[in-house]
Amino acid sequence: MKDYSIILFLCSWGPHPAYQSLQDMAADIPPEIKMVRIPCSGRISKALLFKPFEMGADGVALVGCKAGSCRYGAGTESARANDEDTRRILHLLGLGSERLRLANFMPEEADALLSFLKDFTADIKRIGKSPVSPPQRSFGLNETWDKVKEAVVRNNVFSCQDCGKCSSSCPLAIAGKPFSPRALAASIISGALSQQSVQEGIWACLTCGLCSERCPSMVDFPQFIREMRAILLSSQVPSPDVHGGFLQSFMRTMCSPDLHTRHWDWLCGDLRTDPQSKTLFFGGCAAYFDAFFGRHLKVNTAKMLTEGIRLLNFFDISPALLQDERCCGHDLLWSGDVESFLSLARLNQEAFRSSAAERIVTTCPECYRTLSVDYPAYGIDIPMEITLIHDLVEKEVDKGAVAFHPCKGNVTFLDPCRLRSMPEGKELPRKLISRLKPSAFKEMKQGGAVSDCCGNSAWIGCDSFSKALQVTRLKQARNTGADILITACPKCQIHLKCAMEDPFFGGDIEMEVKDLTTLLSESIHWE
């Protein structure tokens, strides 16, 4: 059995001198403690606080200066906020919030520091070892070129006619980024995968699929990019994860079979669920997103899930919930980490099989696509019907005797990329919106079939062009005269909310963003 390992992030200013005096005295600092000296506890982001857990650490202590004594002013307060959010995520993940502890010491408090370290070590030992087993990734450097050739053939890339329709439809290129799908494809075919510009291009693609829709040669560009990413990752070219890689980190952590998450701990009590139900509600990661982004963006994407369950309840369906549900793996798959995606998919498959359910309902377009398209494509067979909640609601409402309180205000709709790429994915939300009877519904310029995305996907490569895209999108939405921008994906909500934080555009792009499931649930009634 491996030894316990506890990471101590120690601020250089206040507590480090105390730690040094402990070392000078040859005090019995527990050997499990691995100290990392840092310039300020406030600079240890949520991503850095969480990273040790992904790598298998049993505990993490963040030790900084006492309130009011921070050399940089806000460090103590930032550390407190980061600690709180990360502990929330640790709780949801089932690792336990008590594995992370924040403390503050002055230089002269050596004894107090020592007893803190001893107590924490003892507590961690009482909780036991972390259930996380960091994945061992295999690297196959010499087969890279063969894999590239296979991917080129499989996705029909040789048939590119260099016509340029892809570049003229690409949202990134339109936003002004020097990015061209056909040029990228040509470079990869010519064997330039090791060039930095090519690698940057591979990570930059939004994988929205607009180019493939226009392509006269039916090149499956998003799929090709996904395979290229997997090759880059296995050749140790890291993906440019945003938010310090936090989101990929927690998703990867869920790959550990011994981990039992507390995925639904936050759910309020007025909803009806039934573990023996034939319908399983698959939620997705919204609650984690809220814990991570909530403080800054005030988003509440988990409302999608509560309202989804409420809609099911409205139709007298009490769904089953998987208590230790895991991420569907969408983001890991699209950022090239196929191995982690497959371990998540297998764990989910096992959980589905051990439930009594015959169909899975989800509100998230990404979960829907991943479960219904990507799982089977990777040989993960789910012998159940996968249903998007919008489809279920449309079918039920179509039976009759159900109506909606009219939605006050003008609305427009932003197509989530993963919904748009599914058959029925463009029509279905519009049908439902017309049932909501808004004062007016107007498509955005570049709406519908040619809908641009919200600027980013799979939490990689967000940059100033993503931002430009989001700002353009919001301006287009405002130009329709709409009061409410409706969307159906938690990530659209997060990204657009983030763009609205822009200090220069400010009020020009601000507008209410509402999720379709929530709108439906709030206004539905029996006639």
């Binding site: 809609l311 039976k399 009759g400 159900v402 029996w526």
Partner: protein, 200 residues
């Protein structure tokens, strides 16, 4: 079989509408479902003549557990109206605890005190692509609301009565009406229990 059969296991039904709406066919299917599918007794009296060219037309169906000695309906337990003229002609005959079913767009039951069930069957049939299937939609609605016959027997009877090649379309029309009826019953139940709004 959870059929809510009328008193003494007998229900008397009048279907009425314009000539050409398939009123008589609907009556025939209903009786056939009861007799062949549910092993009960049934009779059909049809009235048309000059009315077949667009006037009021009606079909009278009796479904019973015991032998039926007289096939004429005087006080119907169930009245189905697919035209305003038919409604006006027969509404006075509906028994006190009887059930009234109407086409939402074609019949305006003005000054009617009692509760009734309505379905936009003609509009639904138009949406399905064939206006002439309104009768089958109405039939599905009737079966769901009144449970006069077993829905599976009714589907059997629909399949064997409509022109060959249109069976699937007619079955989906039947299901459409049936689902609508089930939803309406559910909505009434929810309203009665104060659960009509989401989140209650």
């Amino acid at each position: 079989m959870a059929n809510a059969r009328g008193e003494k296991g007998r229900s008397e039904i009048i279907l009425t509408g314009f000539g050409g709406q398939g009123i008589v066919l609907a009556g025939k299917i209903l009786g056939q479902a009861a007799a062949i599918g549910d092993n009960r007794e049934s009779t059909l009296v049809q009235s048309y003549g000059p009315e077949a060219r667009g006037g009021a037309c009606s079909a009278q169906v009796i479904i019973s557990d015991t032998a039926i000695h007289y096939p004429h309906v005087r006080r119907p337990d169930i009245l189905v109206c697919m035209s305003q003229a038919g409604f006006e002609k027969y509404i006075g005959e509906l028994s006190e605890a009887g059930t009234l079913l109407i086409d939402l767009d074609l019949v305006k039951p003005q000054g009617l005190g009692c509760e009734y069930f309505s379905i936009p069957s003609t509009r639904m049939a138009e949406e399905l692509g064939r206006k002439m299937m309104a009768n089958i939609i109405m039939l599905g609605f009737l079966v769901a609301v009144t449970k006069a016959v077993n829905p599976d027997s009714a589907r059997e009877a629909v399949s064997s009565s409509v022109p060959r090649g249109t069976q699937d379309k007619n079955i989906s029309a039947f299901n459409k009406g049936y689902d609508y009826g089930a939803a309406v019953l559910k909505a009434r139940h929810k309203k009665a229990h104060g659960e009509a709004e989401s989140g209650q």
